[in-house]
Symmetry: C2
Subunit: 146 residues, 2 copies
């Protein structure tokens, strides 16, 4: 069951400049940053609020580390802007299986590693009214044993 | 001060079909629906979670009521997808004034009426790294006297 807006993924050309924009304009600070080589992105997570399911909502700022990454290709086509939205769940495997059974294309056979040790998968935007949609199970909040 | 992700605004061609997609796929239900003639949209708010500032996070599904509305023109150009993101604040007037002073273009001189009696304004996407950004003060949560 999807229980929160986990994050909004925003693609940018220059992560440092975009982080500084969000800090200077709104006072949002970087909660976590990392490079995800598999996804081909350098990213910063800005925590905006906590959520009623025990998790939190973030902005995820994404700069591609290579032009042929999914985010790199998307940026070249669209320019900066909202790249995807993500819903949090306690069980990404079960939700992905359930959603696949409803005929929505799930992009990974098995969830992969996302921000902060989370497990993630994506749904095809053409099956979701144009919205690239991610499902996330957080490591920290929902799987404390990890 | 911006204290939550208030909503993600998603533009669609057929509100009823999109509401049904979110219900059937994820189990999200319509919390509120209305027509905003000033904005030229018919909309449905799907409540996803409550937030640590006493508010909530929603998906806002938007169908234009006329082709020459902002959302209608955006849809004709971009197709369905994420149209804007919105941050919640207890004082949209103060935040808009503060942000305007920093050189970010605020689209309205005075906040206008948004969903569920809220007061809203927008920031120019070209000043926000490509993201059309809304600021919202909710009527129900933060201004109980209204």
């Amino acid at each position: 069951m999807l229980t929160r807006i986990d994050h909004i993924g925003i693609a940018c050309f220059d992560l440092d400049a975009t982080v500084e924009f969000y800090r200077a304009t709104y006072g949002f600070e970087v909660f976590h940053s990392e490079v995800n080589e598999e996804q081909g992105v350098r990213e910063a997570m800005l925590k905006i609020n906590e959520t009623s399911d025990g998790g939190a909502s973030y902005l995820q700022l994404l700069e591609p580390t290579r032009e042929d990454s999914a985010v790199g290709k998307w940026l070249a086509k669209n320019g900066e802007g909202v790249h995807h939205i993500a819903f949090g769940t306690a069980d990404v495997d079960a939700d992905a299986a359930d959603i696949r059974e409803k005929g929505v294309r799930v992009l990974y056979d098995e969830p992969r590693r996302g921000s902060m040790g989370s497990r993630i998968t994506f749904l095809h935007p053409k099956d979701c009214h144009g919205v690239l949609t991610e499902l996330v199970t957080s490591a920290a909040v929902e799987s404390p044993e990890h």
